[in-house]
Symmetry: C2
Amino acid sequence: MYKKILIIGCGLIGSSILRVAIKKKLSKKIFVFEKNKKYRNQIKKINKKIIIIKKLDKNIQEINFVVIATPMSEYKKIIPKLNIFLNNNALITDVGSTRNNVGKLIKEKLSKKLNWIMSHPIAGSEVSGPQYGNKNLFENKWCIIIKDKNKDKLKKVISFWKKTGSKIILMNSKEHDKIFSITSHLPHLIAYNLIKTAQDFQKKDKKNIIKFSAGGLRDFSRIAASNEIMWRDIFFNNKKNMISAINKFSKNLNSFKKNIQNLEDKNLRKKLVNSKKVREQIVQLKQDIAKPDFGRE
Amino acid sequence: MYKKILIIGCGLIGSSILRVAIKKKLSKKIFVFEKNKKYRNQIKKINKKIIIIKKLDKNIQEINFVVIATPMSEYKKIIPKLNIFLNNNALITDVGSTRNNVGKLIKEKLSKKLNWIMSHPIAGSEVSGPQYGNKNLFENKWCIIIKDKNKDKLKKVISFWKKTGSKIILMNSKEHDKIFSITSHLPHLIAYNLIKTAQDFQKKDKKNIIKFSAGGLRDFSRIAASNEIMWRDIFFNNKKNMISAINKFSKNLNSFKKNIQNLEDKNLRKKLVNSKKVREQIVQLKQDIAKPDFGRE
């Protein structure tokens, strides 16, 4: 248990950490810094003991543990303030979705007296804001923690996430960014791109096609409704892996196009059959349930 | 109410039609033709009154209404049998997902004495087979019916689908194939392609990335587990629209790639924000619910 935890950025993820910290009594006092006034009003209602601070100034001098859950593009503004006001013994973590660029930023900008161990809880949805936060959000979900030389501090961050209900995996930041470019960042970009393509079609043909979205488009629209600031930051931060993933995707799409153009039955069917295996793996690994989905109604 | 309905092909869709026909008493007798032995054994258990026929021969001479729910590639084999054994007054419909090529096939191969009005119920999921069929599958779902000069027969097909609970929309076959290339066929191909790209990555990097699929990949894997024969038929039958849709998609993806490559903040964010609007429309049109999806557990 910490004496004083500070959560910087209290949207969906930040407020879920806040809720689980209250429930599991992870800190005697919990401080929250959140720029959005509407969000602050919602947070106040969660629990009377939450201390909302308006500036990252001397109020944070005695904080033991800091969780940053803002969009990653905010880090540049936050780090100089941490450098000034945090004590040597304060431990920092964050929940950003890319790790290599953030690692570089920390190395460049964070005061050497401070320790920041990066985390990435694989939890969330298309919605944003503290009204959607949930104390059980991390229960049984993976939390990636980036390896660090400081084994003592690493242990503390692992222990914190375990208490939220997360299952822990250690990775280095390059490995993390490569894996998630495929399992998360590319799927989001593809969903955005598919929706954009449907919008272009609707505009040009002046037909209401959206009402027929139950045939497949619907599933992509959910992901493509995710927060634009968060996803811009991810795409830009993970630029190199994104470009590589897009190139691989485009190469495969051209091959599918050729299969269709030339009616290549055997090649096409082989690919379609193979992709079912991934679904089976996902269900076996408990990343989804086997129950068929006829639409959420 | 018909005297004798015949359902040819009794998987997910065929068996759902069977179930609703029994429940709503749409026919005095119901005949089923299904090639798959395992499926036939499952169908027998649905209701004792179902008459399973083993050949499309003289048994079908007195059928009034035929619903074909096989993969579209089977139609070539089925039509010559209908030509021989069906009476003049029999009305035919089917549930195929592309309409223009099927329309051509009917014009070429179906006996002029017979009437075939094409339908396309927008219902289903990633699973196949009669064990997943459901009498409520069509309830409140769109059913596209292809316009036909024979207004009398058209009315009868509309009336049939209305009784299943469907909401009816009339279209011509070209319009249908263009719209569904965007709302259904392209999304399926893209899902298959994304899963293929993830599989290639996993094979090359020998990393178990599938277990981190909750970050987005999971949602695509469900669609990419759909039946390969059905989808091969759709992609091949709707070739021209598919190629055009893939080209539009690729053009947009290249533009996204450029945005990321050059860190074009304003352009990228504008696109991401715009795509949220489609999600809002889909929810308003009751094609999905607004409730956020944190994963199906």
